[in-house]
């Protein structure tokens, strides 16, 4: 890891450790927007890692963004930070300015389409996008949609559409946005690296990294709990049954981190569809198993609201399904592998 990333890692870890407390997570779940936290994140330059410095960003790489997104997952940061990072990248790739403040991305579901139509010199937006992350809280929504068969990126401001509130298992906002010839702040043809399904694709990418971060937390937390909690006169971690389970958790955590890093590296190199699909499949599977093992190790206390474990496990259960579950991505990946044929598999794997 380069020195810059080490520094970046220290900054985010310190910031999130200090600020993302149990109290803050509880109040966010009750609908409180953690504005102080957002301001701090923005002031530390963490929201626009992929936007060039000349445009007010950090001018970094996906590899740098991974440090931030994974840490956000590890700390269950209740902000649309991953969405802002992706949305601002879509904008900057299209040559558009990224506004300050939180962003979200839409449409999230593969079946939802938003229509962008010409209106005089500008554009209007129509259609419904369900379960948009932080739809109510984001200052702007970044949309990628096809116009006459070519991907376009459009930006709308808060209030342009009608918002129906909903949430995921972790009580993170997942709102429905309905646009009816809504005004568009700016629109432009998408950059070459942003395909028409970019929201789905890069949404899956950042969720993989958030889940990998969540698993980092689970492994640390479970290992620590197993050395502290005593039964039968000794720490439960001294029992082989617990040791074996936590070793399995370690394997899934390591695989998740590797799969996510592989996908982020591919994003820097261009053409990351294979690695993103693989990451969403591998990390999602790890998330399910990891949450299960960690809860088992924690016993009844980990099942209470009082214990903080659920802030991460409930996120993992939702994130693995968002932007496509393991099943969706496995089918997509399997089809691409089958199409290339058996003899192409090994050359393909070694070229990535």
């Amino acid at each position: 890891m380069n020195e810059l990333r080490t520094i970046l890692g220290d900054v985010v870890t310190r910031l999130f450790t200090d600020r993302v407390t149990k109290e803050l997570l509880e109040s966010a779940e009750q609908g409180q927007w953690p504005d102080d936290l957002w301001q701090a994140v923005e002031e530390n330059g963490l929201t626009l890692p992929l936007v060039p410095e000349s445009k007010g960003g950090a001018g970094g790489t996906w590899g740098d963004a991974l440090v931030v997104v994974r840490a956000a997952g590890r700390h269950a940061v209740p902000l649309p930070l991953a969405e802002t990072i992706v949305g601002s990248w879509f904008l900057s790739e299209a040559g558009l300015e990224a506004p300050s403040g939180p962003l979200t991305i839409a449409p999230v579901h593969r079946d939802d389409t938003l229509r962008l139509t010409r209106a005089g010199a500008g554009w209007r937006l129509s259609g419904t996008a369900a379960r948009v992350p932080w739809g109510r809280a984001a200052g702007h929504v970044v949309i990628v949609t096809g116009v006459e068969g070519r991907p376009m990126v459009a930006l709308t401001a808060r209030g342009a559409g009608e918002v129906t509130l909903d949430q995921n298992l972790a009580r993170e906002p997942r709102d429905t946005l309905v646009f009816d010839a809504a005004p568009v702040v700016a629109a432009a043809p998408a950059g070459g690296r942003v395909p028409a399904n970019a929201v789905w694709l890069y949404g899956a990418l950042v969720r993989s990294a958030q889940m990998a971060g969540g698993l980092d937390y689970l492994l640390r937390q479970a290992s620590q709990y197993a050395t502290e909690r005593r039964q039968f006169g000794k720490p439960i971690g001294s029992f082989q049954a617990i040791q074996q389970n936590l070793a399995v958790l370690a394997g899934h955590t390591a695989a998740a981190g590797t799969a996510a890093a592989h996908a982020f590296r591919a994003a820097d190199r261009g053409d990351p569809a294979f690695e993103i699909a693989a990451a969403k499949v591998r990390v999602g599977e790890a998330a399910g198993i990891g949450a299960s093992i960690t809860h088992q190790a924690h016993g009844a206390i980990g099942f209470t609201y009082e214990h903080a474990l659920h802030f991460v496990t409930r996120r993992l259960w939702s994130w693995r399904a968002e932007f496509g579950g393991e099943g969706d991505w496995a089918v997509e990946l399997g089809r691409s592998v089958a199409e290339r044929g058996a003899d192409a598999l090994w050359p393909h794997l070694t070229a990535r």
Binding site: R220, S223, A226, G334, T350
Partner: protein
């Protein structure tokens, strides 16, 4: 708790150019070998093939030139290994010597031992076996009892080794014997030896595996004389040497590619335009494969950088062998075809072979339970 580090890295250009050379060689040498032959992976024993590998400079390729090595990087060797395994090349006649016995001699052997054995290994002319387990010493390796007593000019050996893979084909065995007995300190008093498999006083008998194949052996020592100059390392240093030797073999591509031949047959079977269920099965397996390759490669890069990624290596082996064992399961669940021995399709035969071979994946080189104990220690639990 120790933290894991699985950083991605790139293979150097010379490793990638070697890859092309190796593929060309394998295309020529293996031709249209049947999938079930390829499924034997590092179980296939072929001295002629090993000699050709030696002639290409592909055995002991990282060792010093003065011992017949080629002083190439561990990453070039990594590429060579993964290409051999992915193609299902019969590497068994030099595998153990290249991976374990040679490095052991380089590290702990005498100059005379190195000069005598290493060049012949690099030519693909010397096959090695490993004599560790005994009837009463499996996972509890330190409890082993085969005695080597000092006599004039060497040692007299009595006892029994089991599971000694390919001992009946090998020229030499690196065996661990007890030279000193103190019941309170079982890890002490162990010593390693180079043993000529043709020595007087050695009797070998096959242990046939559940599939009817002969690769295991029982090796009985009855007053076998091992000369002093065949001792490897100091008397009593055996445990440290053995654990070093076992660490050589945890994270390589052989720990996730054992069922690769079946993945390929599955892809052939489902065709270019698979249904959703078949596509999902293939996709999931490939997601695991590509992740495991990056994990294994990451450990190789750390080793090349002179780091000591013992915990990461144990994790790769555990996750990798779990995957290898899962492949026949998911193929069964998807296709429901019967695994066969000599009849049926290529897929059925590969499935038949690997279904019967798979239980060994999490036993060889240390059981899954022992390995997970090592990982748990890294997590601070013990």
């Amino acid at each position: 708790m120790q933290t894991f580090r699985f950083e991605l890295g790139d293979l150097p250009a010379e490793a990638e150019s070697l890859r092309a050379e190796v593929r060309e060689f394998l295309r020529r040498e293996l031709g249209d070998a049947a999938p079930v032959r390829r499924a034997h992976s590092w179980g296939g024993f072929d001295r002629e093939f090993s000699r050709k590998m030696g002639a290409r400079g592909w055995i002991g390729m990282t060792w010093p030139k003065r011992y017949g090595g080629h002083e190439r990087s561990a990453l070039e060797r990594y590429v060579l290994l993964e290409e051999m395994l992915a193609a299902g090349a019969p590497v068994s006649a030099h595998w153990i010597a290249d991976r374990q016995s040679g490095p052991l001699l380089l590290r702990f052997g005498t100059e005379a031992q190195r000069e005598k054995f290493l060049p012949a290994i690099t030519r693909g002319e010397l096959a090695f076996a490993i004599g560790m387990s005994e009837p009463d010493s499996g996972s509890d390796l330190a409890s082993l009892r085969t005695r080597a007593e000092r006599v004039a000019g060497g040692y007299r050996v009595n006892g029994t080794k089991v599971w000694t893979s390919n001992a009946h084909l090998a020229d030499y065995m690196i065996a661990t014997f007890r030279t000193h007995h103190d019941p309170a300190k079982k890890h002490e008093g162990l010593t390693q030896f180079l043993v000529d498999t043709k020595l007087e006083g050695i009797t070998m008998s096959p242990i046939i595996d559940l599939a009817g194949s002969h690769h295991f052996n029982m090796v009985v020592f009855e007053d076998a004389f091992v000369p002093e100059d065949m001792r490897v390392g100091e008397e009593g240093a055996g445990w440290k040497q053995v654990t070093t030797e076992l660490a050589f073999e945890r994270s390589g591509p052989e720990r996730y590619l054992s069922s690769f031949a079946l993945v390929l047959e599955l892809i052939r079977e489902v065709g270019k335009d698979p249904g959703e269920r078949a596509a999902a099965t293939v996709g999931r397996l490939v997601a695991h494969l590509t992740t495991l390759r990056q994990m294994s490669l990451s450990v190789a890069l750390m080793l090349q950088a002179g780091e000591n990624p013992n915990l990461e290596a144990a994790v790769v082996k555990d996750v990798g062998t779990t995957f290898e064992q899962e492949v026949p399961e998911v193929v069964h669940a998807l296709l429901g075809v019967e695994p066969t021995i000599d009849s049926g399709s290529d897929l059925q035969q590969v499935l038949g072979f690997l279904t019967q071979r798979a239980p060994s994946f999490s036993l060889r080189g240390g059981t899954r339970e022992i390995l997970r104990g090592i990982i748990a220690r890294g997590l601070g639990l013990r």
